[in-house]
């Protein structure tokens, strides 16, 4: 037990990084993803194309590369940001693209009849979107959206490239210092707990939506 406790400070340091990166990325990328999705579905072609390009770039290049690009590249055009902000921006921009496509799939899967019924009943576009479409979309995107969040938990370890120590990095340092693999198991256990928490949260959300089919 003492042994595990001796590893605690470094692991906790790492865990803190993993957690804030996860929560803030989720908080930022989900709304941004919805916004990108709406713009992507707009009738104004240049806007559509711009969003398609953004989504292509974010999904088409490695997140690791984007992290390096944003941290080291932006200062060249005059935008200087600290490490944590750079990591957060890269993660949010990247995940927003994935969420945008998830939302788009959800929105397109809504029957056209829902829009038509709303129109003949005199509902405005905004009322239709927030009252009729979005609630149905949420139910549909919970599984793939949840998947993304689970991937995010583990992707946080990429922050090492900007010198940000997360759980994985801490466990690697400890493994070496302790001459044992136990810290790695500990890191694995921590990830399992985090992913289980996300899975649990998702299940709860999915159950909430089971009141209709």
């Amino acid at each position: 037990m003492d042994y595990l406790l001796s590893m605690a400070p470094l692991m906790l340091q790492g865990l803190r990084t993993t957690l804030w990166l996860f929560f803030l990325t989720a908080l930022g990328s989900i709304p941004l993803g919805m916004l990108v999705c709406i713009l992507r579905l707009s009738k104004y072609t240049p806007l559509q194309r711009a969003m398609q390009l953004y989504i292509l770039l974010m999904r088409g290049t490695p997140l690791l590369l984007q992290l390096i690009f944003i941290f080291f590249g932006l200062p060249i055009i005059g935008i200087v940001i600290n490490r944590e902000s750079a990591a957060l921006i890269a993660f949010i921009l990247n995940y927003a693209a994935y969420f945008a496509e998830i939302f788009r799939g959800g929105i397109l899967s809504i029957d056209q009849g829902q829009y038509e019924a709303s129109t003949v009943l005199g509902l405005s576009k905004i009322q239709t979107f927030f009252g009729i479409i979005l609630p149905q979309v949420v139910k549909r995107v919970l599984p793939p959206g949840g998947n993304e969040l689970i991937t995010l938990v583990k992707d946080t370890s990429l922050a090492y490239i900007l010198g940000l120590g997360d759980v994985l990095r801490a466990s690697r340092t400890l493994t070496n210092q302790q001459a044992s693999l136990i810290p790695l198991f500990l890191a694995g256990a921590i990830y399992l707990v985090l992913v289980s928490a996300v899975t649990f949260g998702l299940k709860k959300a999915e159950t909430k939506f089971e009141y209709y089919r």
Binding site: D111, G113, Q114, E116, A117, T119, V120, L121, G122, L123
Partner: protein, 209 residues
């Protein structure tokens, strides 16, 4: 009065409606029959503003402003909102589009549901309802908006013959209360029995009764 004058609509090269003209008065049950694909659905979609048209006019004397929706539509597949209960399906447009408060909307919705024999199903969700029940919720939802005219797209297609007549009775009730009813159907028997004006749509619209 709803007057359609020389209405034409093409989809690309295909001319679907060619100079169609007819009139419907409040209290009428105007039924338009014809084989599938002939343009019946397109016609009522034009009437309920779901579709634009190329030429001709649709004049509704009761309409007061651009923004109003004097023509309602009950879809063939009902298009109920699956995430809302039966009651909410009716109250939601009342509250949002008509600006009614919750109390009044609820009252009105309950009255309508009762008149259509839906009492007890207020909290049920569309997936829990039978075809006939869903249709009546859809009708209640459309009626709640007090349309001057109400269109029905193939109201008997999903139902067995027993229920057909109950739908017919509902149409008569609606017409009696002063709404103009416009129905499209390929069910000739139903059309003959319940129409006050009967039309056949082919390449032209012919008045049959």
């Amino acid at each position: 009065m709803l007057r359609v004058n020389k209405l034409s609509k093409s989809f690309g090269d295909k001319k679907v409606l060619d100079q169609i003209s007819f009139e419907v008065e409040k209290g009428d049950i105007a039924i338009i029959t014809g084989p599938s694909g002939v343009g019946k659905t397109t016609l009522i979609r034009c009437l309920s503003s779901l579709e634009t048209y190329d030429s001709g006019t649709i004049d509704i004397s009761e309409r007061r402003s651009e923004k109003e929706h004097p023509v309602g539509l009950v879809f063939q597949s009902f298009n109920l909102f699956p995430h809302l209960s039966s009651l909410e399906n009716i109250t939601f447009p009342l509250i949002k589009a008509k600006g009614m408060n919750n109390e009044d909307a609820r009252k009105k919705a309950l009255e309508l549901m009762e008149s259509l024999g839906l009492t007890g199903l207020e909290g049920s969700y569309p997936f829990q309802l039978s075809g006939g029940q869903k249709q009546r919720v859809a009708i209640a939802r459309a009626l709640a908006m007090d349309p001057e005219y109400l269109c029905f797209d193939e109201p008997t297609s999903a139902l067995d013959s027993k229920l057909r007549d109950s739908v017919g009775e509902i149409l008569r009730e609606i017409a009696k209360k002063g709404t103009g009813v416009i129905v499209i159907t390929h069910d000739r028997e139903f059309a003959e029995k319940y129409s006050t004006k009967l039309y056949a749509l082919g390449s032209e619209l012919d008045r049959v009764k």
